[in-house]
């Protein structure tokens, strides 16, 4: 086999995967800058960003304000790149980059689909018809080096330390914030940096500790294996509910958003560690924050929400079964299953991003000591207790015999059914809500002319006549 063939078989899929992941996160990061504001506007009963317009002659494109993302980006590039005179020039410029890099690097180990078997994607029969075969539910297809066919894992790097790599990188987020605050020559920035450092170091511990219970159940550190476990059994949120909430809180704390936005606490520290930043350097902080929302959502999805799995949709097709009774079994083509799984994964990520924006607009922020108390006195003990409890229950179940195992299998399938019903319900609700015309009670808040009209038309503007 020549090197160029290896190129095609191995490196091209890798490049495509990198493009998909980076492309997704960049686009979602951009989308989130809009979504966050727009969603906030909806919650707050106002219109929100909708003014950015692309004009070409008589053609106008507003796209519900989506163009604001592009306008903001452009604005960042053309703004003066101000640097405080006494700032540490090197560190000041380095900090935004240091913030960006770990966020992007985490993407390497996040699987966004099950392993693809290229030889099973499609066959062309002798008479020219294309058929799309299905694959088996378990087991990974073998490599076929003779024809340069290797299974393609939908993950940029299949590290066997998976989640540890994530922890290692998530910790690097502190460095950027601390550097930015330290080098800015501003007391507010410095305080923001100190807060960021202590907050992130503290929540790092919880982030790690909370997941140990999950590792014990999944029995692996590889993230793709975790997802497979969830597909065969129940989603992580059902088997480790405590962990899910603790991890979610810690993940929001890591991304430094309300209610954990103390490092930038606008009303206290002006803008915290990036007070002195302007132009694209500020833009990088801003953007990194939103990409962090996306990556933390991805982590949550893979570890707790079944990753690419949909209930009852397995690698070989649709199988609705409770315990040993199978209700429906339908083989589906591998290519369709794969596409559906990838879409599912990104759909779930978008849902969690939406949820994080929702949280951001609903809560006030903590005080510094309350934040630390929450971390060390509440979340950490909970996660430790969770490890202990999981251990005991795990032992008990292991020694309980076949009956309990069968019962658990049924329980797991019931959770799958629950998820399926919930998803269906919300999708239907969403569709109905979208179609149904919205009702507005007409209490006019606006110009006095409108009010007068409502009250019987006591005023008439000359324009109306």
């Amino acid at each position: 086999m020549t090197t160029s063939q290896i190129m095609i078989a191995v490196i091209v899929p890798a490049l495509v995967k990198i493009l998909v992941m980076i492309g997704f996160v960049f686009n979602v990061g951009a989308l989130l800058t809009w979504l966050d504001r727009r969603q906030g506007a909806m919650i707050q009963d106002r219109v929100g960003p909708n003014r950015a317009v692309f004009k070409l002659g008589k053609f106008e494109l507003r796209a519900a304000g989506l163009l604001h993302t592009a306008a903001d980006g452009l604005k960042f590039f053309f703004k003066e790149d101000f640097m405080p005179p006494k700032a540490d020039k090197l560190l000041f410029s380095l900090a935004p980059m240091v913030v960006m890099i770990p966020v992007l690097a985490i993407l390497a180990v996040i699987p966004f689909g099950d392993t693809v078997c290229p030889q099973s994607l499609w066959h062309v029969t002798k008479d020219g018809h294309m058929i799309f075969p299905a694959v088996t539910r378990l087991g990974v297809c073998g490599a076929d080096p003779a024809n340069n066919i290797f299974p393609i894992p939908m993950q940029i790097a299949t590290l066997n330390v998976g989640i540890l790599y994530v922890f290692a990188l998530a910790g690097q987020g502190i460095v950027g914030a601390a550097l930015a605050g330290y080098s800015s020559d501003n007391k507010f920035s410095l305080m923001g940096a100190l807060r960021a450092a202590s907050q992130m170091v503290s929540y790092e511990v919880v982030l790690g500790m909370s997941l140990i219970g999950a590792f014990m159940l999944y029995g692996t550190l590889r993230i793709d294996e975790m997802v497979r476990w969830q597909g065969e059994n129940a989603w992580g949120v059902f088997v480790q509910p405590l962990t899910f909430f603790v991890f979610f809180a810690a993940a929001v704390a890591e991304s430094k958003r309300i209610p954990f936005d103390l490092p930038e606490a606008e009303s206290e520290l002006v803008s915290g560690y990036f007070t002195e930043y302007s132009g694209m350097k500020f833009g990088m902080f801003y953007f990194a924050e939103y990409m962090e929302v996306a990556t933390s959502s991805m982590l949550l999805v893979t570890i707790f929400l079944g990753g690419w799995n949909l209930p009852f949709l397995h690698r070989d097709g649709l199988t609705i079964s409770f315990g040993t009774t199978t209700l429906v079994h339908q083989l589906l083509p591998h290519i369709w299953v794969t596409i559906f799984q990838v879409l599912t994964f990104f759909g779930k990520v978008l849902f969690l991003c939406w949820f994080q924006c929702f949280v951001r607009w609903s809560l006030p922020r903590f005080r510094y000591d309350q934040l630390m108390k929450l971390c060390w006195k509440v979340l950490l003990p909970i996660s430790l207790a969770n490890i202990f409890l999981t251990g005991i229950i795990f032992m008990a179940i292991d020694n309980a015999g076949a009956d309990v195992a069968a019962g658990l299998k049924i329980a797991a399938d019931v959770t799958q059914a629950l998820v399926a019903l919930t998803i269906t319900y919300f999708v239907l609700r969403g569709i109905i809500g979208f179609i149904r015309p919205s009702k507005h009670t007409p209490w006019v808040v606006g110009s006095s002319a409108n009010q007068a009209e409502l009250a019987g038309g006591s005023k008439e503007s000359p324009m109306q006549a």
């Binding site: 707050q44 936005d261 006030p364 005080r367 209490w443 606006g446 007068a452 006591s458």
Partner: protein, 404 residues
């Protein structure tokens, strides 16, 4: 072998440590009303706080001595710019007291309704801004939505949303508009609904309550000795409300309660304001029922009240009267008076001295914010830097009246 003797006293640090000086304000996101707080910090804890006011000083009292008595109204608008109508009414009452004028009943009811609407808008702004500074942006905008409704009524009545300049000596600039009662009756329940919604959002939130509870606590005695009045004093448990204890206009004829707090902390101040919004709604309801639909709003006294525009253009007497009132101003009898009303933040007093001419000899105000801001340093010393924000927010310091 001898142990190494470091000869360190207990608690002594190896590195010298000085408190960090931090300037909060005058331009800082939390310092609305341009106040400057010089903090000495040990970590996040405030060791010393020096509150410096005066960054919005514009010589209000001196300005008043230049024009006529009626020309003071635009200035009092800008005292407390979140509830200008209360300042308008307060100043009108002060001048009328000096002149010995009694306005028609309809005018008093009208003033009470407008004043209570302004009080609602004041409290909505204060509580909303406090929540916003704690990061809860959504309730703030809901409250602002409610305030917009009040301002729409004000716009309908006075023609201006913020600086109404609507009070006059001996009455109001205009009688109530025909739609006034319906508008208010329709709007107030909507405002209360919004308040309830925002309240649910905030008070059922553990983070929010934790941020406010036991923060910025002040005792009854301290509050009284500092000269606090209004919601901030009532939050300490002192039921001192000028509307109840020294009624003016018809406040003795309406039925309302004075909400008081128990601890005097930031949460109490927040809750007292929310309750007062509801009490204001009660007062407005009763006033609407008792305000006559027609009848005069201004006193029938040509020495103080401008004549009808129609008469000004058609009769010589009215023209002369108009000219004298505008050019020389209403001649307020010689004497001095102190008149005080319950404004959004507490006792708003006007001490007026007249030398018998059409120009005030001296206008001295007693702004509630001034006394309240004096207590800020004490409230935040020993607390954390994050506590400055809700504490300062709950005091509702308004630069316009504080820096008189």
């Amino acid at each position: 072998m001898e142990p190494i003797d470091l000869e360190l006293e207990e608690g002594e640090l190896e590195l010298p440590s000085d408190p960090m000086h931090l300037n909060m304000g005058p331009s800082h996101p939390a310092m609305h009303g341009t106040v400057r707080i010089v903090l000495e910090l040990s970590g996040e804890t405030i060791q010393k706080a020096d509150v410096q006011i005066g960054y919005l000083h514009r010589g209000f009292e001196k300005m008043c001595e230049r024009g006529t008595w009626a020309q003071v109204f635009p200035y009092v608008d800008r005292l407390n710019y979140v509830s200008p109508m209360l300042c308008n009414v307060g100043y009108s009452l002060a001048v009328e007291k000096l002149c010995g004028l009694a306005v028609p009943e309809r005018c008093s009811w009208y003033r009470m309704i407008l004043g209570e609407l302004a009080r609602m808008s004041d409290h909505l702004t204060c509580d909303g801004a406090m929540a916003m500074e704690l990061g809860a942006f959504t309730p703030f905008l809901w409250f602002i939505k409610a305030r917009e409704m009040i301002w729409d009524i004000m716009e309908e009545e006075t023609g201006a949303r913020l600086t109404h300049s609507f009070g006059r000596i001996g009455g109001m600039a205009k009688p109530p508009s025909p739609a006034f009662k319906e508008l208010v009756r329709g709007t107030v329940p909507r405002i209360i609904a919004i308040v309830e919604e925002g309240e649910k959002m905030l008070l059922k939130n553990r983070i929010f309550v934790d941020r406010l509870e036991n923060v910025g606590t002040i005792s009854k005695e301290d509050a009284i000795s500092l000269g606090w009045t209004g919601p901030c004093l009532r939050a300490c448990g002192v039921p001192y409300d000028i509307r109840k204890l020294h009624p003016y206009m018809f406040y003795d004829q309406v039925d309302f309660d004075v909400p008081v707090g128990t601890k005097g902390d930031t949460l109490d101040r927040f809750l007292v304001r929310l309750q007062e919004i509801r009490q204001s709604a009660r007062i407005i309801d009763q006033c609407l029922a008792r305000m006559a639909d027609d009848g005069p709003v201004n006193v029938d006294d040509p020495r103080f009240v401008l004549p009808e525009k129609h008469d000004v253009y058609t009769t010589i007497e009215a023209t002369i009267q108009h000219f004298k009132l505008i050019m020389e101003g209403a001649k307020v009898p010689r004497g001095e008076v102190y008149s005080y009303t319950e404004s959004g933040n507490g006792e708003l007093g006007f001490y007026l001295v007249s030398d018998g001419t059409g120009t005030p000899y001296r206008v001295r105000i007693r702004p509630p914010s001034f006394a309240i801001t004096a207590g800020l340093g004490k409230l935040i010393t020993g607390r954390m830097i994050s506590d400055v924000v809700p504490t300062f927010g709950s005091l509702n310091m308004i630069g316009g009246e504080c820096d008189h």
